[in-house]
Amino acid sequence: MITYLEAIREAQARALRDDPRVYIYGQDVGQFGGAFKATKNLAEEFPGRVLDAPISEDAIIGSAVGAALEGMRPIVEMQFADFSTVGLNQIVNHAATMFWRTQTPCPITVRLPSGGTAGAGPFHSQSMEALYAHYPGTVVMTPATVEDAYSMLLDAVAIDDPVIFCEHKYLYYHLKAEALPSEAMPVGKARLARPGRDLSIVTYSAMVHEALAAAAELSAEGWEVEVVDLRTVKPLDTDTILASVARTGRLLAVGEAFPWGGVTAEVVARVASEGFDLLDAPPRRLNSKDTPVPYHPNLWGTHRPTARTIASEARQLLRV
């Protein structure tokens, strides 16, 4: 059995092994193996290619941009996604504008340990995909499975453009698979995580599993709920979303991020404009509440969507 976290480690090991242009840079990623052990033993296996960085997110990303221009393929680990606010400028204004401005690709991968876990609080729980997806010039990945964590990280390193890789901390240990995948879906394609006919839940990252649990619950009630795992939120696979809504006529977009804007707004807006006639009922959204992510599990459990709240939202939508 291999965990989501181990898959991320393995993908990095393979990238380092297969491509001499790859190196890893971030706080405590070296000897220590990273705050979450996503780079465990990599410093020993690949001497000189897995380097501890100072507490300087802006400079970490800035240096990766420079190295990418010189033909390297840096993988940068932010210790928590939340700290990438301090490196955001180099991502959105430098890495993401590079190709368009200079026709020079900027292949950096920024790993963001994302999302909430119990007791992590406002500054170690954020889901920042919307910020990076809003700016032109990045690919934003949000893997929900062990297989995708592995193969999409390899894709991220291979792509000639800046990739924001939002890996979910809740899935690190909770999610296990039998083995690493030998093949993968193309980048930018969403996945049908569960087929259905009554309602489409479109979601990504950890919420895929909450949605699947909700679908299982609803299936006991006789509803067949389809779950679409977006995999990348930019580009967004509108075709797959529309095909699903064409089958079900009902859309519930679910995300763990804050409610204003973001993935669920984009999904609903696209379906409303491009697939209006497919909808048999008003589309719905379920996001976190509009406050910082609470520390205490009692609050956190209510702040983010869960299988229970997704199921209840779905039930209401199914009744329309």
Partner: protein, 340 residues
Amino acid sequence: MVHPAEADTRPAHSPASPKLFLETYRWMLLARTAEEKIANLYRSGKIVGGVFLGKGQEALSASLGVHLKPGDIFAPLIRDQAGRMAFGESLLDYIRTYMGSRLGPMQGRDGNIHRGRPREGMLAMISHLGAMVPTVAGALMARRFKGIKGCVGATCIGDGGTSTGAFHEGLNLAAVERLPLVVVVANNQYAYSTPNSRQFACSDLVQRAVGYGVEGHSVDGTDLADCLSVLGHAVERARSGHGPQLVVASLLRLAGHGEHDDAHYIDPQLRKAAVGRDCLRLAEDEILKRQWAAPAEVEAWHTAAQSQVEDAVASTLREPLPDPGEETWQALSTPHLNEG
């Protein structure tokens, strides 16, 4: 040791009185005792989230706290339990926040070290290292606008935190405004697992003072007497209008980065070196050696601290936990501008 940025700092500073030494020692002791209790609770699964200790850094932190006065501003960081208490944070605020009590200052919305009471001059740190430096500077600008004189603002940071842009921008801004800001750098040799050699390349962080045009001070963070005297001096310099003060302490974190961490990466040589001595033990030895208190008295202080902590934990255990149904879920103070 004083490194004048320009010229005019005072030649020397006076040793702390036995009274102050003992008072500070007792804050250190209370902090250590409380942190050990929280660490125990953590090990028995009673704390959700991380636990971060200031073990080994109490002399430095408490020495800052005792030199601050009511009306001053303090933005402590991760390892400032002792300084918080010395400045006036209640033991209950500490226990309640770690245990998630709804009655704590953070009401379960935030936890552990992320607590404060801004209205009482005790700022609530955000995690992003360096962020509190400009914030305290701004609070001091406010005091100046309001015509309030003689106050000081202090904040603490680690060796790792000095690498942040926020630290640089904040200290530089404070220097330009010549604010009464004291920035205390606890150089505990590591930032999480990262040693100084991967964090900066100067031979001593106090060398940065001159580049900001502020006064710099070095201090032995394991030695309470030195901490009291240097911090006292630095706070006094700030208070008397000599602009920002940068204090750099040498010490070692005598715990993991958090209680999940065994700190195996710490160089054993450092543990054995002077920098690795336990400031609390040293202070206690000093007290006994100088006969400022009898062994039984010191023992009684330990017991008192212990029961104070046990009482606080016991009463907190009876308190309600946060209830999502009673939570306002409103991020804005202006009620009608909240969405959803």
